[in-house]
Symmetry: D3
Subunit: 247 residues, 6 copies
């Protein structure tokens, strides 16, 4: 059930404790893909997963459209909130969902920069609040595709070519590929020296967006949907009682 | 320009200092109107205003979909954030917009419960940050209609019948009207005794939703658009230098 | 009972759950009225209301003398706290009052700039703490007079001419009126373009202070007292149980 | 100049950089002395010091009437704010004073429980803000009297017998003395084992209030005034430039 | 230079902008390894790296001994701070180091649970403060060994057998191995379902501590030292100017 | 039991509710004593006290090595955290200790600048959390020696000459004494005019370090140990129930 479109009375009639909360960002995705890529994809996966889940209803909360994106701040149009703000928003919204009995929440994430803050806040919610929250980053759960992630690269471009083709500027993909970076900055001893993406990519792209056609996009959405359904099933079955002290 | 759909390179090509940021809520709107009413209407007004503004481009940020709605928390599906969280989000997003040169921002609001927090954060931004932010609540700026506001009442029902008719459950409007409240709780000496809407309305409605047909909705959108354009023009012309100390 | 003058043993002997907490500001009130106007008037109304309340004792807390007044910061002598600080103070003090059994608190306010923050913190207290708090702004509850409010204008000048005439500089009232502003800044589409009063008034005055003589001041105090008594009675009778979820 | 009673134009005419800010508490002071003792005495000392200072004008801010008093919370009528709230209030108010050019501020304190938080916030202000703030606790600066302080004991009782005799309940002083405690709780190895005064005094008194007559009160006010004047002179002369790094 | 052992005058004589700050935890490490494992190892690597760095002096700050370890809270003796506290400590300490000219800081980390919070705070410091901070988790930078990490498993046991053999309880290693877990809980769709380690390990161990002898420990320290030196060299050479806006 | 060196299983076998938490600083201690003086001495006293306590086991937490030391920031090598950070760390760590049943905690302090913040947080813990925390500053509890404290003066120099003689630079003690200050800055009316030690001491020393030989150091450690044991005994016996309201 898409919560934003439902009435409260309809929502009240649903018998479930499962919800998904899509979180993404509004940040540069190269010259060819939209700033909203990460929340568009997160929302698509969340909705598809909820639809595909066969063992009951799943509430789909409206997406959080701005995330932890300061690393892209030098590129025009990038919006960002402080990690504290992001955590507070997720915690408050999950708390609201839980107050209505939807207290097993998968936060469906479409932005790598959100991952650390999201993991932290989900653990805090599970430990301290009356809810169980689990983070799910869709592009980590698409099998072998995952290793191609990049930024505005093959996966995201493919995904949108499948779901929202009008948002990909096809006439710029070639240039996007040629002017993009091969890798996510300079790493030394497993530490990334750059705090900002602008230090290593001129047009914002990492990876080759030509390597992601619409068919691959369909496969990605399928894989992400399947992974999300599996996770929802596990979350539904999970004993969420906290472990006892090991005294 | 809808920021979420644009690329960063397109956004970079825009020559303006004006932006609109839609903020609303996800909260009960009676048995007949969707939980997303307030962010749907805010976004519609923001987009229409930006389109209608004739004196240059206006950036349209993606909507903030959850607001200060704890007053509706007893109704299933209502989501809310703490006022502190709401203010932090607005401040961070306006700061992002301003970092790209879009430093005159009208925050287009669709939820009465956001008003106090929004006024505070806009004043803080204008005084302390490198940006000028002005709150605009659309239903306060629709002429004589404004006095009919209520909640999920004539104005909001009319608005959605015009813009998103599939989201109004027509078969429930009659009951929504009959079971709703006439007024926003009990006021004594200009103080509202209720902290929660559930104290005075059983189905969440205040006012008569039958009094808002689609034609009225069209008129409301026109009026709000016109008001927003007038405000954008004034904001564009405003001398935003802070007054000097009156010593 | 004026709490600051009482001993703890006397306070302990009172059998009531009602308290009033006066909050105001220290901020410019033109060349003719004192910086303390707003806390002086709030305290006077709170004390008069407590005295006039006929259905039991009412505790009068000492006034909070500095409020949310950054909008007057360009005028020498204006003091202000951040809205967060103001809310924290009100919440802590109401919590203290409630700990002693005085858990129905009317916060008697004398400054328009406090209103938004005060409404927020009272709702927070009522929802989250073991207390019931209601904001009351005296000049909103004086009948038809209310529409004349302004700033350092007819109402406040009249009030002080009645209660503290030595604090009104009579020889400056004429100039105060002539150099003051007619309205609270420039409004476009129901949005105020100014973050600071100094943008629209040179001497800090809004409205005509000549229109408020001591008789009017007496009438104002009477009306405010009556309104406060009515509110105290309603607060005493209020069922403060939070509504149940509407599931 | 009493700021609350002055107009902004009068305040604007003052040529000084010195201000005093009285801070106290509203907390139990035994069965014979008022809950407001600490802010009444702080205000009296601040005002007397400002009047007596012969080398220019001193601004007297309105008193902060509630302080860090949780240690007295078991006694009815005691009000308290969290230390964070207290520090925020002092910092905001001193910042306001400094914005008008009164950037050398002595915070005149009447409550021992405020001392630690006050020292911290004054150091923070001096190091980080555009102001110089120094804490002054009057009963620490009255010569040999200081060692008799207690709580609602000889010093405070004497002081009020001199300045506000109607607030001392003379008929209860004998009992106050007899039922009070001799010392501030149980100390072991210079650590106080009690977090709350109620652990060691039944009526809230520490020390013998009979030992403080009005003449002693007059002497105390004189001594405190003289100490404050000496401090104001030193503060006026102080080079407030921060030391350079010792590299 | 070990900062804690040096005098300020000696510290003042050092000509460098490089510092290392060891951060770890105090948390369960099975029945055979000490609670302090993570700060002991972090400190050892930091000190060895500073000693081995051949291109100038490196300041070694004292270790932060408690970290983000709530996931181990069910095991007796585990200490933890909130992630906000951890970030504040790292930010304050790095700020102190930078104030003395040591403004290129590698934070040498010995605890996986610190990683997310550490990455966030280092990015914040680099973007907002006058310092450049890079996180380095030693066991991520020991070549092929890294894949064996576990918890109190082969790597940490080996490391301590080399550096602090008296802290490994050899007579319990066999049982530690037998009763430990093979993997870090149950993962579904790349999401970890457990918020606490006690959900998947009875004795706190993950991996086989028998697989880490002292020779391996020596190799680990060498590898970590080499990696840290390489990172220090890169940090010393890094152009830390923030990228310009890509307008 | 030294917690950092113990295993969780050993910690689990301890039957006590007593713990000590050493807190100090890393800050200048003149040209002759180490920056770590305050956490080295605090840790030594805590460990000696725990060892000497004859009535059961005492847990020794690892030391907090950085404290509230901004007052020494002009001297190279001084590290400091904000008071808020320090309080958060102490509160979180004491909360962790208490979660394991060690809920009577003496915080053993070696730095005067920590005292105010430490008293505040211990009171907060005792009042609001499930723990009882008492601050103990060792140099306040060494009898007549206490009056000689200074900074890097006779007491601290003596202490380290006894416990860590290699950390005292004997060849600089004479100069340290000659160039040091006699007193802790300029006091007027019991207020200290200096926010920073650099305002009154050129080399960081206050008092004469020559007056503290190793024998005196041994006596100091003995006295501090004895005082701590007495305090631990009192803490063990203390009825930690909060007093009831005095209604």
């Amino acid at each position: 059930m898409r919560l934003a479109d439902a009435t409260w009375t309809d929502a009240d009639g649903v018998d479930t404790d499962l919800a998904v909360l899509p979180v993404g960002s509004t940040e540069q995705h190269g010259p060819h893909a939209p700033l909203g890529t990460d929340h568009i994809t997160a929302h698509a996966v969340a909705a598809a997963g909820a639809d595909a889940y066969s063992d009951g209803e799943v509430i789909v909360a409206p997406p959080i459209t701005v995330g932890v994106s300061a690393e892209h701040r030098q590129f025009t149009g990038t919006l960002w909130v402080a990690p504290d703000t992001f955590r507070a928003t997720v915690r408050d919204v999950v708390g609201s969902l839980a107050s209505h009995g939807w207290d097993r929440v998968v936060v469906v994430n479409g932005h790598g920069g959100n991952t650390a803050a999201l993991g932290e806040v989900c653990a805090t919610i599970t430990r301290q609040d009356d809810a169980y929250a689990v983070p799910f980053t869709w592009f980590d759960a698409v099998g072998d595709h995952s290793s191609d992630m990049g930024h505005a690269g093959p996966l995201e471009t493919a995904f949108l070519r499948h779901t929202d083709p009008e948002l990909i500027r096809e006439d710029r993909v070639q240039a996007a590929a040629e002017d993009g970076a091969d890798a996510w900055g300079k790493w030394v001893s497993h530490a990334n020296l750059a705090a900002d993406a602008a230090a290593f990519t001129d047009n914002g792209v990492v990876g080759d967006p030509r390597a992601g056609d619409a068919d691959r996009g369909a496969a990605l959405l399928d894989a992400a949907t399947e992974s999300l359904c599996a996770l929802l099933a596990a979350v539904a079955d999970r004993d969420t009682t906290a472990p006892l002290p090991h005294r």
